[in-house]
Each structure stands twice: as structure tokens, then as C-alpha cells.
Amino acid sequence: MSEPLLRTEGLTRHFRVGKLLSPKTLHAVDDVNLTIERGEIVALVGESGSGKSTIARLLARVYKPTRGDIYFEGAPLSRMRGRKQRLAYSSDVPMVFQDPYASTNPAYRITHGIQRALHLHRRDVKRKARAAETERVLDAVGLVPARAAARKFPYELSGGQRQRVGFAQALAFRPKLIIADEPVSMLDVSIRIGILNLMSELREREGVSFLYITHDVASARYIADRVLVMYAGHVVEEGPTEAVLQRPKHPYTQLLLSAVPDPRAELGVADKTDVGEPPKVVDPGEGCRFRARCPYAVARCETETPHLRLLGERHRAACHVAAADADLPVEPPLAALTDS
């Protein structure tokens, strides 16, 4: 198999927390192996605190990994030297942020970020050509007419339009992979779909890969080719989107799916539901991190951390109980989840 666009090997990030005399370690991300192919949209799904934003920031080089490494086009990031190489990487892998109201500098026109990106990363674009290139990327994200849009300040735009500016900035790098950290979760439901469609279109037209980070499984299904489900710093399940969503193997994935509001499903379901919370993983011992909330937990889950096992075609889950042939019930008995 040829080298994927981006691959991580045992990616781990710990943070020191606690007092000076009793230092503790928060395990934000533990031993994550993920791959993103060229032109692929991969969704990273999980609750807040599951470590998905930490992964985004590791890939964007805001944080350095505690252990493990990231390979971009086969080359390890840890061996990157000099400002030139670092700039080259950040132009290949830009990031789009969650809060469209905070991610553009209010003191500048919306084109500021695009102009700076061209200035820093695309020296070949001459000063005169920059205006044309700026209009091209604004046009590509649907901010039309681009010439008028380019003159606006952030406060003149709605949340959805600002998020498009975020994608325009990312496009200005001529990127190979865009990391989108919850790009729609702060937007109105009615305009989310426009941003999701935009991501699909950019993949088609510009051949960009996406790492789409979200807690909304339904939107992940809408655009992603593959899904990774994270819980408490671990990837607990991964596989082709439809396989994971239609035949979830990990009890946590099942819980996540059952929580998605879906008015097209039968009305009047008011089942009991889980009141647990994703744990803060401080100095964890061995064992499955979901066991306290898990209705199927067995003795082995207390003592041994499950690793991803192949359970279907390209479909893996980290669960001792899940089996390849005998699927867990698709609708989990939610009542069993309550006493945690």
C-alpha cells in the first residue's frame, strides 16, 4: 500500500495538572493511530473532553506530542527542521476553527487572513495577483460577489458567512488536508448543511482531504468516508462510515448513536438515558475507560485495556465484549446504562 497523506503512530499527549507537590498527568490523547488518504474525508467523533480537539492541535503543531509521531507524506514531523519546513507543513495542513465569531481578527477586513497566507506561503503570487487570488478563494467558498465581500469587516457577516471566510483562508494555502474543528457546531441548524456541502464540494473540486471533528454523528455520516470514534483519549472504534453507523460494535458508539435527535424516527420515544459523563483521564490505570458506563462490562474490562481489533471489513473496535460475528444489539437497552 502506498504511503497515506497523513498517518500518526502511537500519538500521545499528556498534560501536567494538579499541584506542585502532587503532580498528576492528564491523558488527553493516548496511543492514537490514524491515517488520512488523499482526497478522503475522515470524521473524528466524540464528546467534549474526549481528546478530539487535542488531536487537531497536535496535527496543526500547536502542541507537541508527548510520545509518538505524525508522518506527513511519509516524513516524520519530529524531524522537521527550520522555519521553512515548518511553514511548508502549515500551508499543507491548515485549520478551520469552531467559533466563527472569534476566529477572524475584528480589526481587519475579512481578507486579512487570506492576504497573510499568500504573503507567508505563496511567494510566487505577486502583489498584483493577490487580489485576484483572494477573489478566487472567496468565490470558491460561495462568498459572492467576491469583490464586494472582500471589502467587508467580520462584524458585517453572519456566523455562516464567517465560517466560509475560515474555509477561504484555509484554501488560500493550496492545502492538501484541512483540519476542521467543529466547524458547524456554533451555527444555526439551518445553515450547517451549507457548510457541510461546501466541504464536500472543496474535496471534489480542489482534491483536499478533510479531518472533520464533531460531536454530531449525523453530520459525520453526511460527508465522511470513514469515522473514528473517540472516548476518553482513545480511539474506540473506526471504520467506513456506513459500517460503523449501521452496525456499531462498541457500546459507546451505540450510546452516541442513540442520543442523536431524529424526528424522522418514531415519535414518542421517551426512554431513560445515560447520565454518566466522559471521565477526565487523570493518571489512569489499566482497563477499559468506558467500563463504568458500559452495560456489558465484564471482569476483564477492569484489568486489561482493550485494543482495536478487526471486526469487519476495515472496521475495528476496542472492546473485549464486541464480537465480529455476533453483533451487539443495535438498539442498546438504555435502561441498563442509567446506574453508573
Partner: protein, 612 residues
């Protein structure tokens, strides 16, 4: 005012009638046509001296202001942005300078460097005057530091210096100007003070020096009153000019400080008698013809336009719509929480709750109803809860404010309501930041339940939560509602959320009711094109993965709503008739729909709205 001084300082030669140093006149003259402010004990013209002295005072003000601002920016911003050791050291320096009594220190230094002139004075004042501004800038930068646009700049690969100079500084212009003006003000006062006590060059021309000489010659007693008073007034006026300029700048850069009121009187709404219809016993809330407007620079913006609806006892009503369609304003109006900073006003209409018209109720009786009879759960629990008080203390405050329960009863009740929302009472002693987002919202709901109200109004209580926490909170709300029998008005932009939980749903668009009906019926057969569009706006995890389009465009600007049907510009089914006038609400099998598609049907005004 500042301009006046600047002109004086720029052209003293042209304006001043005489050479300020010339001792050509009789000493100690009173005011006269030739010498407006009289002359000094040395026979100099006071007016000319004052004018020439302006130059130096302003020079000191601007030089010190500039120097202090540069230092403050440099220290404050880099401390906050770089963090770590740099922050520690620089903050320590700032704090030390802040606690040192500056003025005596300046006197000591100035006395030591007595004859070194103006430049030294500026450097000393500047070097000691930046600490206050630096602290403000540091805290402002700290709050900016985690903002996404700075992270975006870092991810882009910008250098630190660029981020500080070109990304942080422009966003803080108003604070930097304030720092500059503050430092300039301080410089004028300090310089005048120093020169007055004889420090600095006694032969220089400045207001302080004039005061010094006037004092030495006992001007006040010797009939040369104006010699002493005029420079004093000048110092005060220049100081006031800087202070006023500071306020003006603040107001320009922060429009929220300008509070507007509607000058149009409220048309008979308040003070009107409650309409002579007996309150229906099965309804807990009746909203009739409610209209709310916001004052703006132009015409008032109608954010809620003639809205009618009821809530039955124990009913769960969902109010759905996009941002900017008036649903939050409606909610604030019902709870009478409009007013600064929500500068809206109820223009007309009635809100009948338990036999009271909330629109005309006075503040005292309103307080009595609020929380006891109806309570509110806000969108962001982190903002609604007081971060420095424990949950217990906040519950106690609420109980004390609205009842005369004993401490023991309060403690018991607090425990009880926390258990109701599945929070371990051990968290009574927790502070809001120690709870997760879901727990904070539960705590908010627990507080709303303290007095078992009949109605709870919720403004997107789940929008900051993850799907799992959101689902579990919704189930919890529904369960409590069924157990305790209170009614719920639930505002959200996410139609999919309420499908399983609400009894009826009210779809709002551009300040008006677009559709109102039983949830089952609306979800099974959405009649208004807007409702249908909302329903098709989100992907599903079941069924085929169809491509969706969302709703093109955005809700109209309520300052200029389109004539006719307000949804027509975005409507896939719009026709010429849609633009001819606002369509009435049609009753279609018990479902109210504001759409011309139902014109041919039973075109009757729905019974619901006929009250007054």
C-alpha cells in the same frame, strides 16, 4: 478644548500680545484692556506667559503620554502573550511600580537631577507612569490570548512579533488610546506639581513655573490674583479635556454604552385593563397581540410582531426558528426581562399569567411571581450562575429573595431539587466551574424548581452541550415535567431536538408566527414551506444519505422586512401573490399556518386570536 490648547501651543508667537519675558510693564497691574489678566510682580504680561507656557505643558503631556504608552504596551502585551517566566518578571515589575508611592519618588529623582531640564522630566515621568496601563493591557491581552484568531495566526505560521504587533495591538486601539490619554493627564498634573514646588528649571515657561513664581511673590495677597489663578485653571482645563476625550473615545468605540429609548409612547399597552375575558382554567399562559420593538438610530425594529399563543397547564410548547427571528426577544418579553442590555420594549399586547397581565404588572408583584410561579433557565449556565458562589449559596440567595423559608428548610429543599435532577447533593458545595456543562444546566434547572413553579421558560438550555448530554437533559426535563406537572416553553433553533418531547410547536419566522400546531401533526405534515425547510435542514443517521440543500439565504433584516410574506424571498414555492400582503394565519385542521397556499381553504380567522 484640546484643540484650543494645541493651537495656543503651536502658534504662541502669533497669538500672544507681548513677549512673555519682557518686563516692560508696571508690575502688579490688575486686569485691563491692554493686559487681560494683569501683569506679574516682574512686570510681565500674564496672558502672554500663559499662552507660551501652554507649549511646554502640552509637550510634556504628549511626550510622557507617548513614552508611557509605548512602555505599557511593550510590557503589558508581551508579558501576557509570552507567558511563563517573561510574564512573571514583567508583572512583578509592574506591580512593584504600582505600589510604590510614585509622586514622592518623582520628587526625589527630580530633585536629584534638578537642572537637567525638560528631557529628563519626560523620561522620569514616563518611566514611572506606565504601570497602570500595562496592567490593563496585560489583562486584556490575556483574555485575547486564547481567541481563535490568534491561534489561527499561529497555525498560519506567523512569527511572535507579528502576532503581537499586527494581530493583538489593532484590536486594542481604544484601550491604548485610553492609556495614552490617562498618562498624558497624569503628566500634566505631575509636571505642574513638580514645577510648582520649584523642581525643574525655574526659567522655563510652563504653568507650573508660573505658579511657582506667583506663589513666591504671594500673588494672591498682593492683588495679582489672576497670575496664580489662570495657570491653575489651564491645568484643570487641559486635564478635563483629556478626561472628556477619553470618555468620548470610549463611547464611540463601544456602542453598547449608548442606551436608546423609544420616544414613541407605548400604545395603551401598560395601564390598560386586563381584557374582560375570564382566564381559561386549563391555560396557564395566554399571549395576545404581543409586539416588541427595539429602538435604533432609525425606525424602531419590530422584533416580535403581533404574536398570539397559549400554553396549557402542564404543556410542553416548543418555539423554533433561526437566529434573529425574534424568539429570544419573545421569551424576554414574556418574562419581563427586557430592558438594558436588551433594550427592547413591549409596544402592545397582553401576557396573561394566572389572572395577571404581566405587561402591566409593577415590579414588586412581578418579583413575587417570578421564580415562585414561573422561572427561567438561560442558554449558558456558566454565565447565569455566579462563578464565585457555591451552588448552595446561590440556592440560598434565591430562596431568601423570594420567600421566608428558614435556613433548615432551604438546605432540605436544595438537597431535594438536586436529587430531582440526578445530581448528588454533595455538589451543593461545588462551584460552577467544578461541574461539567451538563451538570451546570441540571443545576440551573434544579434552581428553577426550588418553588415548584407552574411554568418554566427555557432558552436553548442544551445548545452548549454534546449530543449525549443533550439527550439526557431533554429526557430529564420531560420526566420532571410529567412528574411535577409544570408547563414548559422551550426555545430552540434545532427542530430535531423537540420532535420527541414537545406537545405543540410554534415556528417563528421574522418576528411572526409562521406555523403553530401539535408536534405530531407538524412533524408528520409540515404545512408552511419554512417549517418544511427547517425539517429538511439536518442530516439523519437513518435511511438513505440524501443530499440536502438547507435554507438558502438568511432571515430578513427586521428593520426592513419584505412586504408581503416574509419568507417569500427564500421560499421555493413563492408566487406573485406572496408579495401582495402579509398572509393571515389559516386554520388548517387545527394547525395554524401563515401561507397563501392555504388561501382557498377555510379562510377563517382562527378562533385562538379573537380575544379583545
Amino acid at each position: 478644548m484640546l484643540l484650543f490648547f494645541v493651537i495656543l501651543a503651536t502658534f504662541p508667537g502669533e497669538i500672544a500680545p507681548y513677549n512673555p519675558q519682557a518686563t516692560d510693564f508696571l508690575p502688579g497691574l490688575g486686569p485691563s484692556r491692554a493686559h487681560w489678566f494683569g501683569t506679574t510682580a516682574y512686570g510681565q504680561d500674564v496672558l502672554s506667559q500663559v499662552i507660551w507656557a501652554t507649549r511646554q505643558s502640552l509637550l510634556i503631556a504628549f511626550a510622557v503620554g507617548g513614552l508611557a504608552t509605548v512602555l505599557a504596551v511593550l510590557v503589558g502585551v508581551s508579558a501576557a502573550y509570552l507567558g511563563g517566566v517573561a510574564d512573571g518578571t514583567l508583572s512583578l515589575l509592574t506591580d512593584v511600580l504600582l505600589v510604590i508611592p510614585i509622586f514622592p519618588l518623582i520628587i526625589v529623582i527630580a530633585a536629584y537631577e534638578k537642572n537637567s531640564g525638560l528631557g529628563m522630566l519626560v523620561i522620569v515621568l514616563g518611566a514611572l507612569g506606565w504601570s497602570y496601563g500595562a496592567r490593563q493591557l496585560r489583562s486584556q491581552t490575556l483574555s485575547l490570548r486564547t481567541r481563535d484568531f490568534l491561534e489561527s495566526a499561529r497555525v498560519r505560521g506567523e512569527r511572535k512579533l507579528y502576532v503581537i504587533v499586527c494581530e493583538i495591538l489593532p484590536t486594542m486601539t481604544s484601550l491604548i488610546v485610553a492609556t495614552f490619554l490617562g498618562a498624558a493627564l497624569y503628566a500634566v498634573l505631575a509636571a505642574a506639581g513638580l514645577q510648582f514646588i520649584g523642581l525643574g528649571d525655574p526659567n522655563s515657561q510652563s504653568w507650573g513655573t508660573m505658579l511657582y513664581w506667583a506663589e513666591n511673590n504671594e500673588a494672591l495677597g498682593a492683588g495679582m490674583v489672576l497670575w496664580a489663578i489662570i495657570p491653575g485653571i489651564c491645568v484643570a482645563a487641559l486635564g478635563a479635556a483629556f478626561a472628556l476625550l477619553n470618555y468620548a473615545f470610549d463611547e464611540i468605540s463601544n456602542p453598547a454604552l449608548r442606551l436608546r429609548r423609544l420616544d414613541r409612547p407605548i400604545e395603551g399597552a401598560r395601564g390598560d385593563a386586563v381584557p374582560a375575558v375570564p382566564p381559561a382554567p386549563d391555560r396557564i399562559l395566554e399571549v395576545r397581540g404581543l409586539t416588541v420593538a427595539y429602538a435604533t438610530d432609525g425606525d424602531p425594529v419590530i422584533a416580535v410582531d403581533n404574536v398570539d399563543f397559549d400554553v396549557g397547564r402542564g404543556e410542553f410548547l416548543a418555539i423554533v426558528g433561526e437566529s434573529g427571528c425574534g424568539k429570544s426577544t419573545l421569551l424576554y418579553a414574556i418574562t419581563r426581562l427586557l430592558g438594558p442590555p436588551f433594550a427592547g420594549e413591549i409596544m402592545s399586547g397582553h401576557i396573561l399569567f394566572q389572572g395577571n397581565d404581566l405587561v402591566s404588572l409593577d415590579e414588586r408583584r412581578l418579583r413575587h411571581l417570578r421564580w415562585r410561579e414561573f422561572s427561567v433557565v438561560m442558554q449558558s449556565a456558566m454565565n447565569a450562575l455566579n462563578p464565585v458562589l457555591s451552588i448552595e449559596a446561590q440556592m440560598r440567595d434565591a430562596c431568601k429573595a423570594h420567600s421566608n423559608m428558614s435556613d433548615k428548610e432551604i438546605a432540605a429543599r436544595s438537597r431535594e431539587v438536586l436529587r430531582l435532577v440526578s445530581i448528588d447533593p454533595i455538589h451543593l458545595h461545588s462551584h460552577p466551574h467544578q461541574l461539567s456543562g451538563g451538570m451546570r444546566q441540571r443545576a440551573m434547572i434544579a434552581m428553577a424548581l426550588l418553588f415548584t413553579p407552574d411554568l418554566i421558560i427555557m432558552d436553548e438550555p442544551t445548545s452548549a452541550l454534546d449530543v449525549v448530554a443533550q439527550r439526557s437533559l431533554m429526557v430529564q426535563i420531560k420526566e420532571l415535567q410529567q412528574r411535577l406537572g409544570f408547563a414548559v416553553v422551550f426555545v430552540t433553533h434545532d427542530m430535531s431536538l423537540v420532535g420527541h418531547f414537545s406537545d405543540r410547536v410554534l415556528v417563528m419566522y421574522a418576528a411572526q408566527v409562521a406555523e403553530l400546531g401539535k408536534t405530531r401533526q407538524v412533524f408528520a405534515q409540515p404545512r408552511h414551506p419554512y417549517t418544511r425547510a427547517l425539517m429538511e435542514a439536518f442530516p439523519s443517521i437513518h435511511g438513505p444519505n440524501a443530499r440536502l440543500t438547507g435554507i438558502p439565504g438568511s432571515p430578513p433584516d427586521l428593520a426592513r422586512p419584505p412586504a408581503g410574506c416574509r419568507f417569500a424571498p427564500r421560499c421555493p414555492q413563492a408566487m406573485a401573490r406572496c408579495h401582495e400582503g402579509v398572509p393571515p394565519l389559516h386554520d388548517v385542521e387545527g394547525d395554524l399556518v401563515r401561507c397563501v397556499l392555504f388561501d382557498e381553504g377555510a379562510v377563517t380567522e382562527p378562533t385562538l386570536v379573537q380575544v379583545s
